[in-house]
């Protein structure tokens, strides 16, 4: 009588093959959904409130002399100044391309921030013909700090520790929405 062949030999001949077709179907459906719903341009935002008139008494305000940092963008130059003369007015000529010198503006604002680390408000007064591109670049140089910037520290009144300032002047309002004076 012949010996029965080993069952191990049979199983060894055919490896288990995973059925990839349903997984493939699911992946193709998922990729189709993602491609259909995703936006390829990532949008970011810069927020600014509409300016509201101060309720403080003008005499009180004159007495307090707030910084009220203002940046006026003109066709050929940019001025950084304070209506209450808290800082020396800086006039920065436009760069060679005819656009504001964002680098110089940024550096001037860092020096102001070092003087007034608690201050976060700035009034922007662009000229009517300034393009949206100029406006966004200007707001970037006003609001954000860069890794290469000198560090600015602010005293935390609650903990008593010095903290690194992450934003320059993040609260931006436009000063000439009713027209140019």
């Amino acid at each position: 009588m012949l010996k029965r062949p080993s069952s191990r030999r049979k199983t060894g001949q055919h490896g288990i093959t995973l059925n990839l077709v349903p997984i493939l179907d699911a992946m193709v459906t998922l990729i189709g959904f993602l491609l259909f719903t995703m936006a390829f341009t990532a949008l970011v935002t810069i927020e600014s409130p509409f300016p509201v008139a101060s309720t403080k008494d003008l005499n009180q305000k004159i007495k307090e002399k707030p910084l009220q940092l203002t940046i006026t963008v003109k066709q050929n130059q940019t001025e950084i100044w304070s209506p209450f003369d808290r800082i020396n007015t800086r006039v920065i000529a436009n760069a060679e391309q005819g656009q504001p010198d964002y680098r110089a503006i940024h550096e001037a604002l860092i020096s102001v921030k070092q003087q007034f680390p608690e201050e976060s408000q700035i009034v922007v007064v662009p000229f009517p013909g300034a393009s949206y591109d100029v406006l966004i670049s200007l707001l970037d140089s006003i609001r954000l700090t860069e890794p290469s910037d000198p560090p600015v520290f602010r005293r935390n009144t609650e903990t008593g520790n010095d903290e690194l300032v992450k934003n320059l002047f993040s609260d931006v309002v436009f000063g000439n929405l009713l027209g140019d004076s």
């Binding site: 970011v44 949206y132 009713l178």
Partner: protein
């Protein structure tokens, strides 16, 4: 003749010998890579802001992702509010052959000494009324049981050539219609 017959029979034998198996593993590898890439870049596209063809947005280093709100899109050709064209600009002579935008408002589109844009004001007031009506019907209430207040946020998406004079007219118009917060949209700068 016998030689050709033998080749033909060999071919037919090979065709019949077994079923054809498509190698799906390499295809799976490619699809997994695409899927991972799409899922990674998907997080940056959670808002529902639409755009119009031909608009050139400026680039910003800001990292703030805008949340959903009403939006107005301005190009040198016209203005769109919530995917609906509300006004067309007049193209000036300066626009011909120039890279800068040359456009102007029609006189009938402005009032209040040229500060307010009438079609935009009408559209904003309508949207505000609709929003307030929905809030009044909604079950969501504040601490005192009143309907949630109108947020009054307007996203402004403008072509990089659009002038500040137009932007401030939009801001003034929106403020008179009860919108007090503005979001300037731009394309995220790649770091």
């Amino acid at each position: 003749m016998a030689f050709y017959r033998s080749i033909r029979s060999r071919r037919s034998r090979r065709r019949l010998s077994g079923s054809f198996d498509l190698q799906l593993t390499s295809m799976m590898d490619v699809l997994v890579i695409i899927l991972v890439f799409l899922l990674k870049s998907y997080s940056a596209s959670t808002n529902s802001f639409t755009t119009v063809p031909g608009i050139k947005l400026p680039v910003s280093a800001s990292q703030d992702i805008p949340s959903d709100s009403l939006q107005v899109i301005i190009t040198p050709e016209g203005m769109t509010f919530e995917s609906e064209r509300i006004l067309d600009f007049i193209q000036t002579e300066a626009a011909l052959g120039s890279t800068e935008a040359g456009y102007a408002f029609k006189n009938s589109d402005l009032d209040e000494e040229g500060r307010r844009i009438v079609p935009l004001y009408d559209a904003l007031v309508k949207a505000r009324d609709k929003s307030e009506l929905l809030r009044a019907k909604s079950k969501a209430r504040d601490e005192n049981g009143n309907p949630l207040p109108f947020e009054g946020t307007l996203a402004i998406q403008a072509d990089k050539r659009v002038q500040y004079d137009t932007i401030r007219k939009i801001m003034y118009t929106a403020a008179t219609a009860g919108y007090r917060m503005f979001r300037f949209l731009a394309i995220k700068r790649e770091m």
